[in-house]
Amino acid sequence: MANHRLDVQGAVRALPRAHAVLLRGALAGFDDAELAALVGVPPESVRPMLRLALAKLGGLLADPGGQSPG
C-alpha cells in the first residue's frame, strides 16, 4: 500500500530559506514585526510573503516529487 503520510518538514526544507523561516516563525506565533526582523524585510511585506510561502508549500505537498529525501 502506498505511503500517504505528508512530509511537511521535508517540504519546508525544500523551500527557499526565507520562506521556511517565515513559516516556522508564523507557526510559533510571531507577529508581523517579529517575522519581518527574522527574514529581513519590511513589516508591510510580511503578509504577501507569507501568502506566497504558503502557496509554495501547498504546491510541494500536493506534488512532492522534486524534493530530495532527508
Binding site: 525544500a14 511585506s45 522534486g66 524534493q67
Partner: protein, 545 residues
C-alpha cells in the same frame, strides 16, 4: 557565448504572477517587487509583460539605470515634453510627463524596472502616478540597496503591496535546470545545485554554464550528473565581487573569516571583529545571523549565499588562508568551542600551521574524523597529536587511518613499533587488534593471518589485557564458522574481563555463536544478561576520546 544560449525560461513563478495579476486587476495604485541580485525580478517583470502583450494590453516600460540616475527625469526622458525639457520647471515637467503617460501611452499600467536607481524627479513622478492618477504601477527594486524616498513611500504609505521575491525552491530549481538541459538531473546533482546556488536563477545559470564548460556537469546513463569541483569561473567571481565590492577592509575580513569557518557562533565572530561591521554586513544581507534557539543553542553566522563562500575562498592567497585559520582557532578556543566542536577547531589549528599543543583535543578530533571516514584528515590530526605528545594512542590512531588509505608499509611500521617488548601492554594489545583488522579487512589477507596475530599477542600479554583480543579471535572464529571455538574464546574472555565493556563484548559474541548453532535458550540468556546495559553502552561517550 554561453553553452546554454538564449534567455532561460520563467519557471516557478506562477504564484508571484498570480499575485501581481490580482493587484493590477483590482486596480491597486502600485505593486512593488523587491529582490536580491539575480533572483529574477526583471525576468518576472518580462514574463508578466509578455503575457499582457499577448492579450493585446500594452504597457509602458521604463528601465532605470546608473546612467539615467544622474539626469533629472532621466528614466522618463522619452515622455518629457520638449517644450519643458530645459526650463528647470520640475513641477511642470512632473505634471506634464504624468499627463502624457496617462493620456497617450500608458493605458492602465506603467512598469518601472530597477526603480532603486531612479533620480529624485523620476521617483517623484512614480509616486505622483500612484497617488493622483488611475495608472497602475508595477515597480521592481533591488533589496538592500538605497532607494529614493518617493519609491519607499509606495509601500510605507500603503499605496503598494510589496512582494519580496525569494529564490526558487528545490523542485523549482530542478525543473528549471531540467528544462534548460532537456533531460533529467541525477538526485545528488539536484540537491547539490540547489545548495550551491540557493535557488538564485542567475547563480544557477552561471554555475550550470561553468560546470558544462569545465566538464563537471555531464550527461551519463540517461541523466545529468555532477562529478568533480568547479574551479572559480570568472563570471561567478565577477558576480560575487559586484555584491561584496563595496565592503571596507574590516567588513571584508569578516566575510573571509565566515567563509572559511561557517557557520560560526556569534561569540567566535565577535572575538575576531567589532559588532559594527557584522551589523553592517547583516543589514546588507551579506551575512545571515541565525537567532539563538529557545533550546539555548547560540546564534550562528553564515554568509548570505553559499556561492559567496565558494568564491571568497577560491580567491584568498595561501598566507591569508593560514592566518585566518590561526585566528579562527584561537578565537574558538577562547570561546570554548573546542569542547563542543573539537574536529573543526583542531582542523583550523592544523590548517593554521601552528605547532598544536593540545594532544587531547587533536586526539578527540582524530576520533571524530575516523568515525566520519575521513582517513586523510584522521592521519594528519593524529600526526599532529603525536608531535604534541599524544603518546602511543596518537601513533595507533595514525596507523588506523593509514590502512584504509592503502599506505600499508607506513601503517605496519607504526604498528610494529607499538608491538615491541618496550611498549606498554595496552599499546601492544591495541596494536595487535588494529594489525589483525587491517590484515583481514583492508589487505584482504587470509583470515588465518589475523587469527594468528591476535592469538600470539594474547599469549604474550598479562591476563588483564587479553579479553579484547580473545573476543576479536572469537569473532574471527565465527567468520570461519568454527562456532564452538568462538564460544570457547568468548567464554574465556568473559572469565578474565575486568571491565564491563569487555564482559559485555564477550557475552554478546558467545550469544551470537550460540544462536548460529541453534541453541536458542543459551542465546536468549545472553540477551537477558546484556539488555540492562544497552542504554548505558549506547549513551556512553566511548567513541570520543
Amino acid at each position: 557565448m554561453g553553452l546554454v544560449p538564449g534567455r532561460w525560461p520563467l519557471v516557478g513563478r506562477g504564484e508571484e504572477l498570480a499575485l501581481i495579476d490580482e493587484q493590477v486587476g483590482r486596480g491597486a495604485p502600485a505593486t512593488v517587487v523587491a529582490g536580491d541580485v539575480g533572483v529574477g525580478k526583471s525576468r518576472l517583470l518580462a514574463g508578466w509583460l509578455a503575457a499582457r502583450e499577448a492579450q493585446g494590453r500594452p504597457t509602458v516600460v521604463v528601465r532605470a539605470t546608473r546612467a539615467t540616475a544622474t539626469i533629472p527625469f532621466g528614466a522618463f526622458a522619452r515622455w518629457v515634453p520638449d517644450r519643458l525639457a530645459d526650463t528647470g520647471d520640475r513641477l511642470g515637467v512632473l505634471r506634464a510627463t504624468a499627463a502624457r503617460l496617462v493620456d497617450q501611452e500608458a493605458g492602465p499600467v506603467v512598469a518601472v524596472d530597477d526603480a532603486h536607481l531612479l533620480d529624485d524627479g523620476s521617483a517623484a513622478l512614480v509616486l505622483h502616478l500612484a497617488q493622483h492618477t488611475p495608472t497602475g504601477l508595477l515597480v521592481t527594486i533591488r533589496s538592500g540597496e538605497p532607494c529614493p524616498d518617493a519609491v519607499v513611500a509606495l509601500w510605507k504609505e500603503r499605496l503598494a503591496q510589496r512582494i519580496d521575491l525569494q529564490p526558487l525552491s528545490e523542485p523549482e530549481t530542478v525543473e528549471l535546470v531540467e528544462q534548460v538541459l532537456g533531460d533529467a538531473v541525477a538526485p545528488g546533482t539536484r540537491s547539490r545545485l540547489w545548495r550551491l546556488t540557493g535557488g538564485n536563477p542567475l547563480y544557477l545559470r552561471e554555475v550550470v554554464e561553468a560546470a558544462l564548460g569545465q566538464g563537471v556537469l555531464t550527461r551519463a546513463a540517461g541523466d545529468w550528473r555532477w562529478e568533480g569541483r568547479l574551479a572559480g569561473p570568472t563570471r561567478l567571481v565577477e558576480l560575487v565581487s559586484d555584491r561584496i565590492g563595496g565592503c571596507d577592509a574590516a567588513e571584508r575580513r569578516v566575510l573571509e573569516l565566515v567563509a572559511m569557518g561557517e557557520p560560526l557562533p556569534v561569540e567566535v565572530v565577535l572575538r575576531l571583529a567589532d559588532r559594527e561591521p557584522l551589523a553592517e554586513l547583516e543589514g546588507r544581507g551579506l551575512v545571515v545571523v541565525d537567532r539563538p534557539s529557545p533550546e539555548g543553542a547560540g546564534g550562528l553566522v553564515r554568509l548570505g549565499h553559499p556561492l559567496y563562500s565558494e568564491m571568497l575562498r577560491a580567491e584568498l592567497p595561501a598566507f591569508t588562508v593560514q592566518g585566518h585559520h590561526q585566528a579562527l582557532a584561537q578565537a574558538a578556543v577562547d570561546a570554548g568551542l573546542h569542547d563542543r566542536d573539537p574536529l573543526r577547531v583542531a582542523t583550523w589549528l592544523l590548517e593554521g600551521g601552528d605547532q598544536p599543543g593540545n594532544p587531547e583535543l587533536l586526539l578527540r578530533a582524530s576520533t571524530l574524523a575516523l568515525l566520519g571516514y575521513d582517513h586523510e584528515l584522521t592521519a594528519r590530526l593524529a600526526e599532529a597529536a603525536e608531535r604534541a605528545g599524544g603518546g602511543w594512542q596518537a601513533t595507533l590512531r595514525r596507523a588506523e587511518a593509514l590502512g584504509p588509505l592503502r599506505r600499508w608499509d607506513e601503517a605496519e611500521a607504526l604498528l610494529a613499533g607499538l608491538s615491541g617488548e618496550g611498549s606498554a601492554p595496552e599499546a601492544r594489545a591495541a596494536a595487535a587488534q588494529v594489525r589483525a583488522e587491517q590484515s583481514f579487512w583492508h589487505r584482504r589477507e587470509d583470515l588465518s593471518v589475523a587469527r594468528a596475530i591476535v592469538a600470539d599477542a594474547a599469549a604474550g600479554l598479562p591476563e588483564r589485557f587479553r579479553p579484547p583480543l580473545l573476543v576479536q579471535g572469537a569473532r574471527y572464529a565465527q567468520i570461519a564458522l568454527e562456532l564452538e571455538e568462538s564460544i570457547r574464546l568468548a567464554t574465556e574472555a568473559v572469565a578474565g574481563a575486568s571491565s564491563l565493556e569487555d564482559r559485555l563484548d564477550g557475552i554478546t559474541c558467545a550469544g551470537l555463536a550460540a544462536a548460529f548453532l541453534g541453541r536458542t535458550s543459551a542465546a536468549m540468556a545472553t540477551v537477558r544478561l546484556v539488555a540492562p546495559y544497552t542504554a548505558t553502552i549506547e549513551s556512553a561517550p566511548a567513541a570520543v576520546g
